[in-house]
């Protein structure tokens, strides 16, 4: 990896996101400051409506904040055109969603190659296969999403998100629709990406077990960062902190 990082992979400064106007305005994010260090695995948790998804969308450049500044890999997103933003996402950001991650018309291999092709680059020989092998699906390259299990689809999505070697990978409830075994496999893959390839990962989840794989857990409530938990000891500890948050 040759991308130079200036201290943080993702930096949020006083980021606010307000939906609607006037009386019906809803503040989803309230002047949030967050720094995500490179080669770390960050989990974002919080009760529903706490703004955790909005945080992810704003941090990833999918949604534009109403105030504050977001930088990815040292590049400020403020004032970027839709086209420039798309190109930045393509080059420096990877996504894994809860469901519907793959284009149904394309095979696993084609889905993985999609970001490269959209960037106008012909995938190098074996590049895509290697990526698929890394997520353990080398033998499924020519299968369509409908021929893969939910867990396998999610693993293809991870391969696709990692194929461009992005500065940061955002995952929005990646295990939300999976059974325990498949969840474990997906989390293990994300962890491996951080440990072995120094990948930066930011994951939104409501599952303490999933969050336990992270280096750091951000707990959100009412659009603010309410608590930070570094190197959590395990799921029970996270669950306790979560419960405390919800009781307030």
């Amino acid at each position: 990896m040759t991308i130079t990082t200036i201290g943080t992979a993702v930096r949020l400064r006083a980021v606010s996101r307000i939906y609607g106007t006037g009386e019906s305005a809803v503040t989803a994010l309230d002047a949030v400051d967050v720094d995500i260090a490179p080669a770390t695995f960050t989990a974002v948790m919080g009760p529903s409506g706490s703004g955790k998804s909005t945080l992810l969308h704003c941090a990833a450049g999918l949604d534009r904040p109403t105030g504050g500044e977001v930088s990815i890999d040292g590049v400020s997103l403020t004032g970027l055109s839709e086209r420039a933003l798309t190109k930045l996402r393509r080059a420096r950001v990877g996504f894994v969603f809860q469901a519907f991650n793959l284009i149904p018309a394309l095979s696993a291999e084609q889905n993985v190659a999609l970001p490269l092709r959209l960037a106008g680059r012909r995938p190098a020989a074996g590049e895509v296969r290697e990526m698929l092998a890394e997520v353990g699906l080398a033998d499924r390259a020519r299968h369509r999403p409908s021929e893969l299990s939910g867990g396998q689809q999610q693993r293809v999505a991870i391969a696709r998100a990692l194929v461009t070697r992005p500065a940061v990978l955002f995952a929005d409830e990646p295990t939300g629709a999976l059974d325990t075994t498949a969840s474990r496999e997906v989390l293990r893959l994300l962890r491996t990406a951080v440990d072995r390839h120094a990948q930066t990962v930011v994951m939104v989840t409501h599952d303490p077990y999933a969050a336990a794989h992270a280096d750091r857990v951000l707990l959100l409530a009412d659009g603010r960062v309410a608590d930070v938990l570094d190197h959590p000891a395990g799921a029970p500890e996270i669950a306790v902190r979560m419960a405390r948050l919800e009781e307030r």
Binding site: S53, H57, L62, D63, E82, R83, T86, K87, R89, R90, A91, F95, F97, Q98, F100, N101, L102, I103, P104, A105, L106, Q110, L114, P115, R117, L118, A119, R144, R160, D172
Partner: protein, 770 residues
């Protein structure tokens, strides 16, 4: 491009509507243009063996845009023939007089009356077609004839302008036509308009020599230019056919764009999530647009690949019906037209890309965040451009209708059509707004039942979906009401007008002949006139006027509209001679522009026939004559015209309804398939398949009813506005006739297609879930 191909391959169902629309559109256009391009003027067969032809000079174009020719006088023709025969390389110069002759078999005239007018020829002109005697000898005396078929020595009954005759067959020819002795032909025909040159050596050199020899006394035609000698009757038939084919091409392309646009819009709405995902993983708006264009291109190429052979194969099959309907000349054959096929293929691609244009632009603006939304819920039924265009269309259409009475008569009909198109498109665009109140109104009686409630709420929340079903119905019903209403109203009032012009109760009319011979007219009690024509030159311009030869006249009588002509007229008759005659009177009720003494007309036009006799006593029997009431006589012309109009109507309506069916079926198939989840929920809530079917059918019918209502209303407004302006102009009330039966049939076909298309995915889903 690779991506687009995979998309199309995977989701062919979503592209099926576009595919079928393009395939059919390209098929219609390829077939029509092949027919149109095959229908080229041709040198008449009986002149085909003559390399150089000299035609009498043109005196300018007539009102229809065709050149008007004068005949050479006998002396002129003889002098010119002599001059031409003396040219080096010319083996013979053969004048070609033509006259009316029709064979009578068993008392009945045979053959096509129109063609019979020029079936008689001089024997020497048989050489122009390369025809030879296969048996017997050439005709030499009056009453002798050579023709194909009967053996030499047999006798045949014929009818000429003079009356019935019995001719002796002296020879059998190997080509069509009646050939008589040259002197006999000259006596029967009205002047010579054509001289053929047979040549030895280079035809073009002879043609050049002939050109300088003829000067302004005629036009020399050689090679492909000889095609201009196509008889005017054939040119008119081909022109009529071309009108139909042009209308088919225009309508075919218009509705194809419409269907492609609505299909693409719907499928783009259904693919919002997928496009959001593409945007999230790094597709720029431009890449989304390019992908959708590429997808459509793939579908258009496939559609064209099916449509082009379809059209090419259908064209030859359509030739006989077109000939039978009088829209192409007898002997019309389809030839391969690669340029027409290539053009149709290209048109299909252009049409498809034009259709996908707005959908692609809208899709490109889908935010990446949409990949995360489940939503199939329609956000807004109306977009701002839709509002603007819809209101503009209605306003422009209404303005045109209001301005209608101030326009010239010629501009009015096209302005009315333009207004109708604007209003219909405007109504289609605004349909989502109009649907809500209409649905509330029509479903009010059923608001308590579960089905009623579901249909009502389903259509109200999915106004855009209902609008896409209603739009094609709206267009078709609108055009159907407009076209059938216009045609019926015009023919109704025209029939009444013309019947009023025929005073006598009974008419002796031609029966299987182009007109009555002198013998048939002689002795009939009542009024009649010989129908002919003359060229009148005033101040350098020559105009052709209809001439009626009547009894009891001494000079020239003009009809009222020619009252401005000078008091002494130079008349050039069909035989080429010019006479100056004094105008003696002006009459209001003249049957033709100029009235002349009957014997004068007969002398200068030996081929003149009598259109009919207005009887004031019992008619005597004669060959090729029947007695009709005045109304029935007038009705013949109206029916003939009406028949062609009906064919036009039927073809255009069938095309329109066919495409509507396609659009409606496609919209409903796609929309209902996408609502599978919703219907599964309905089933879980205790509804049976019959329940689901009731809901889909109810919605489909509601959409068709909305389209019918809106389309019918718009068309009715246009018709009423047109009536008002015409009434104002002619100062007479017109009865508006709308053939409700035909229009109800159109609406019913739409309804049937809609119900079936909405029901099929439901039944298929049930079969799949078992």
């Amino acid at each position: 491009m690779r991506l687009a191909w995979d998309m199309v391959r995977h989701r062919f169902a979503a592209f099926a509507g576009t595919f079928v629309a393009i395939a059919l559109g390209v098929g219609v256009v390829a077939g029509s243009t092949t027919l149109w391009a095959s229908s080229q003027p041709e040198t008449p067969q009986r002149l085909s063996a003559t390399p150089v032809l000299v035609h009498s000079p043109s005196v300018g174009d007539n009102d229809d845009g065709y050149p008007e020719y004068r005949s050479w006088t006998i002396a002129e023709a003889a002098a010119l023939t002599g001059r031409l025969a003396a040219l080096p390389g010319v083996t013979a110069a053969i004048p070609d007089p033509a006259f009316y002759v029709q064979r009578v078999v068993g008392g009945r005239p045979t053959g096509d009356p129109e063609t019979a007018l020029t079936e008689g020829h001089a024997w020497s002109s048989a050489a122009l077609g390369g025809y030879r005697l296969s048996a017997g000898a050439a005709p030499a005396r009056p009453g002798e004839v050579a023709l194909a078929g009967p053996a030499p020595g047999s006798r045949i009954d014929v009818l000429t302008a003079r009356g019935p005759a019995t001719w002796t067959v002296t020879g059998t020819t190997d080509g069509p036509g009646f050939y008589v002795a040259d002197a006999t032909a000259a006596a029967l025909s009205a002047g010579v308009r054509l001289i053929g040159l047979t040549v030895s050596g280079d035809a073009e050199a002879v043609a050049a020599a002939a050109r300088s020899a003829v000067g302004t006394d005629g036009t020399v035609l050689s090679g492909a230019a000889r095609d201009r000698l196509e008889p005017e009757s054939v040119t008119r038939i081909r022109w009529l056919g071309a009108q139909l084919l042009i209308a088919m091409v225009a309508l075919g392309s218009f509705v194809a764009i419409f269907v492609v646009a609505s299909t693409c819009a719907l499928s783009a709405a259904q693919r919002r999530r997928e496009i959001g995902l593409l945007r999230a993983v790094g597709a720029t708006p431009g890449q989304v647009i390019r992908m959708m264009y590429a997808e459509t291109l793939v579908v258009a190429v496939l559609g064209g690949a099916v449509g082009v052979p379809l059209g090419a194969l259908a064209a030859p099959l359509l030739a006989p019906p077109l000939v039978a309907a009088g829209l192409e000349p007898a002997g019309f054959a389809v030839t391969g037209q690669p340029a027409a096929l290539a053009g149709s293929f290209a048109l299909g691609i252009v049409v498809a890309l034009a259709g996908v244009w707005t959908a692609a632009r809208r899709s490109s603006r889908v935010p990446a965040l949409d990949a995360l939304r489940d939503a199939a819920v329609e956000h807004r039924a109306m977009t701002r451009p839709r509002w603007i265009l819809g209101v503009l269309g209605i306003a422009a259409g209404a303005a045109l209708l209001i301005a209608l009475p101030t326009m010239s008569t010629d501009a009015q009909s096209s302005a009315m059509m333009g207004a109708a198109m604007l209003l219909l498109v405007g109504a289609a665009l605004l349909a989502p707004v109009l649907i809500a109140p209409l649905v509330r109104l029509t479903t009010w009686p059923w608001r308590r039942g579960a089905t009623g409630m579901l249909v009502r709420e389903g259509t109200l929340t999915g106004a855009r979906r209902v609008a896409s079903t209603a739009a094609p119905v709206l267009l078709t019903v609108g055009f159907a009401v407009l076209l059938t209403g216009t045609v019926s109203t015009i023919s109704q009032s025209a029939g009444a007008d013309e019947a009023a012009d025929v005073p006598a109760a009974l008419v002796a009319a031609p029966d299987g002949v182009p007109g009555l011979s002198d013998a048939a007219v002689a002795g009939q009690p009542g009024d009649s006139y010989l129908s002919s024509h003359a060229l009148v030159t005033v101040g350098g311009t020559t105009t052709r006027y209809g001439v009626a030869g009547t009894d009891g006249l001494t000079g020239v009588v003009l009809s009222r509209e020619l009252a401005d002509l000078p008091r002494r007229l130079d008349l050039r008759f069909p035989d080429g001679t010019t006479t100056t005659l004094p105008v003696t009177a002006v009459r209001d009720d003249a049957p033709e522009a100029i009235l002349l003494p009957r014997d004068l007309v007969r002398r200068h036009d030996p081929g003149a026939l009598t259109p009919a006799v207005l009887l004031d006593g019992p008619a005597g029997p004669a060959t090729g004559l029947r007695v009709l009431t005045a109304r029935a006589y007038v009705q013949i012309d109206i029916d003939e015209e009406g028949e062609i109009v009906q064919i036009f109507l039927a073809v255009l309506l069938a095309l329109g309804v066919g495409y509507t069916g396609l659009a409606v079926a496609n919209t409903l198939l796609m929309a209902t398939a996408a609502r599978r989840e919703e219907f599964r929920a309905l089933r879980l809530a205790g509804g049976g398949t019959s329940h689901v079917l009731r809901v889909t059918s109810g919605e489909a019918l509601l959409a068709v009813a909305t389209g019918t209502l809106l389309g019918g209303t718009v068309a009715l407004f246009c018709l009423l506005a047109a009536r008002r302006s015409i009434e104002e102009e002619i100062g007479q009330a017109i009865e508006l006739v709308i053939p409700w039966g035909q229009n109800v049939a159109v609406a019913l076909v739409c309804a049937l297609v809609a119900v079936v298309a909405a029901g099929v995915p439901v039944l298929r889903a049930r079969a799949g879930s078992r």
